[in-house]
Amino acid sequence: MFEGYSLAELGSIFAMQGFAGLILFSVFVLMALGLAIIFGQMGVINMAHGEFMILGAYVTYLCSNVISSTVPALFPAYFFIAMILAFFASGALGMLVEWGMIRFLYRRPLDTLLATWGLSLILQQVFRSVFGAREVGVVLPDWLMGSVAVTDTIEVPINGLFVMALTIAITVVIYTVMFRSRWGQGVRAVMQNRVMAGAVGINTEKVDRYTFGLGCGIAGVAGSAFTMVGSTGPTSGQLYIVDTFLVVVFGGAQSLIGTIASAFTISQAQSTMEFFLSGSTAKVLTLLTVVVILMLRPQGLFVLKVRR
């Protein structure tokens, strides 16, 4: 497929392709971070994760409509406001769900799967009733669309760069919160041994609620960011859920580093294979590889060493 191209042309295509892989990597990390906290740290299988993302996307949609009709001068920057609102909207709904549903199911992980799946169906129908069955178009500020020409032949999409920057920022924040703050220490303590954590004076119920809220809030931010690259409709969340679980499970459920490593492996493999093979074949090969590796290493790529 490369006959008739100059070396320079090939070089720039490969550079752009490398970049495409990095963008996919950022997208994967962003969608998986929230789930990694909820599934990895709390052991809750949240099938409604995609719907929390779409809630963030709808918040962005509302925000773009409201701001462009009331204060159009603010429009170029509305995306930041939208992301913050999305975080709080999804986070608040997450805490509500934890309080009303999840907390009764902590000892029955398989039941959470069913309950959250039901929740995802309910949320989809709510979106459909409120926003209509059709997809909505989120208008983006001009500066987010288009590409930066690095050289004459290498072009890098701006929204890709934006997602990458956002992913790095959120990852740093999560890392600091989970591993460098006292609250994060409490979260990890509760997950490792709930009874002991309670015995030393940690309010485990509160920790659970905020952790679940944090995970859902990050999902909301991710959903808000994905209005740049994907669709916003009642069932769009379903587009992300499989990849998200794949990344988290493959990385080793309890390890945030594992999530990042697995997002990197899967995204690079998929994007490279998509370039040389066809789209569907690439997906099949990626899934097969993941299945084989999980057969050899059922706990995922990275494992926390915990005394049971």
């Binding site: 459909r128 072009e155 999409p157 890709g160 690259v229």
Partner: protein, 424 residues
């Protein structure tokens, strides 16, 4: 949904009322001049005579079914068809119904789930004994209900453009089959844009694959080249790799049949990657005004779509249709190709019933051949003996406001050819 919402005799046309009254009086007088007084129509055609197969037909009413997904993934696409079918039925009722009988609608929800479609189809045919069903959208749902319609001898009016390779006594296909949508568009882009190389990209299921198979044959028969053919799973959201591949192969035309949520991702990412659709020719057979809502006009402006109908089409039928549609379903509603095809269904059925002077399925199936509908928003359509429609192919260019400029239409109606020889 209850049916009485639509037979209240609500004016739909939007004419000033004295004029409408005159028109109605005139219309009411027509049968008197011709054959029979209007009120006597139902008695003149006793139910025993027009309905020998125990369908749900009385002296004053006839029941039909609408079977689409109003919940689930496909609700996005099927909503428009439901609206168009209800509009057509309301208009027909306002004109006095079919053979003097008012149409009552029984609506069922297929819920985007193919077994549910089959089950609801059986319910409509066996329990409700409806005289016709307007419904289905995806090929998968049509394939699921087809055996039911054939077993219980029902009549389905199917609105979507589809891959062809099917023909049934019990189905009227009001959308275009693949060759009607593809060939004329390819010829146009070759002639107008001097296209020599094509990159085919689609979602991975039967319709894009069959369509691209036909497109590839046609392209290669004319000595042009396909430089790439790619499929992505339904719901795929990352197209950066294939966009690089498109940049590498530099095709004259990108030929796209990506559907659903993937569509939005595909066009947004192309724009972000710096592919300017005003310079790079892109032709799609899967984006209508409906899809443009989600994609955003600014992300797809400049692309060409190959359809048989666009909302911006200029003819008196269409102006009336668009006005009535917006009056019934809101000023912001948009009308895509399939929505218009959905609107044709009830009208074609009415015309067929009147030609056959009967509601019996067998008589309708036989009478369908040659039925003409001059009031079609797309202009004029005629039913072929293979139960598909003769219709024109048109090319539209996407505008930032979500509408299309019609840039080309075929001079003649294109013959439907669901089993194209040499293309399989």
């Amino acid at each position: 949904m209850s049916s009485d919402k639509f037979d209240a005799g609500k004016p739909v046309g939007g004419l000033p009322s004295p004029l409408r009254r005159k028109l109605l009086l005139g219309m009411a007088a027509l049968p008197a001049v011709g054959l029979l007084p209007r009120g006597a129509l139902a008695q003149a055609l006793p139910t025993d005579a027009v309905n020998t197969t125990k369908l749900a037909v009385t002296d004053s009413t006839v029941k039909v079914g609408i079977l689409h997904s109003t919940t689930g993934t496909m609700a996005i696409s099927e909503t428009g068809s439901v609206q168009a079918e209800k509009l057509a039925i309301a208009q027909i009722n306002e004109m006095g119904g079919v053979l003097g009988r008012k149409i009552e609608v029984i609506q069922e929800d297929g819920a985007s789930d193919w077994p549910t479609f089959a089950e609801k189809a059986r319910k409509l045919l066996v329990e409700d004994k409806v005289a016709a069903v307007f419904g289905c959208w995806t090929s998968a749902s049509r394939k699921a209900v087809l055996p039911v319609f054939e077993q219980y001898n029902g009549m389905l009016y199917y609105p979507t453009f589809y891959e062809g390779l099917e023909q049934s006594k019990n189905v009227i296909y009001t959308g275009q089959e693949a060759t009607q949508q593809i060939l004329a568009g390819l010829d146009w882009v070759t002639k107008e844009k001097g296209a020599k190389s094509f990159f085919l990209i689609g979602s991975d299921y039967i319709w894009p694959r069959t369509s691209n198979k036909i497109a590839r044959k046609h392209i290669e028969m004319k000595g042009q080249k396909v430089v790439g053919e790619e499929y992505f799973p339904l719901g795929h959201t990352q197209f950066n790799s294939v966009i690089n591949k498109i940049k590498l192969t530099k095709p004259d035309v990108i030929y796209a049949s990506v559907v659903g949520g993937s569509n939005v991702a595909f066009y947004k990412q192309m724009k972000a990657a710096g592919i300017d659709l005003n310079k790079q020719v892109l032709m799609t057979i899967s984006v209508t005004e409906d899809e443009m809502l989600g994609i955003g006009g600014e992300n797809i402006a400049g692309a060409y779509a190959c359809m048989k109908y666009f909302q911006s089409l200029q003819n008196p039928n269409n102006e009336k249709f668009v006005a009535a549609f917006k009056k019934m379903w809101g000023a912001n509603s948009v009308i895509g190709d399939v929505t218009q095809a959905g609107y044709l269904g009830p009208w074609l059925w009415k015309l067929t019933v009147e030609k056959a002077q009967s509601f019996d399925i067998d008589k309708i199936a036989a009478a369908s051949n040659g039925i003409e509908f001059t009031g079609a928003p797309e202009g004029y359509v005629r039913v072929h003996e293979n139960h598909h429609l003769w219709s024109k192919t048109r090319v539209g260019r996407a505008r930032p406001d979500g509408q299309f400029d019609v840039v080309y239409e075929t001079a003649d109606l294109i013959e439907p050819n669901p089993f194209p020889k040499g293309y399989q």
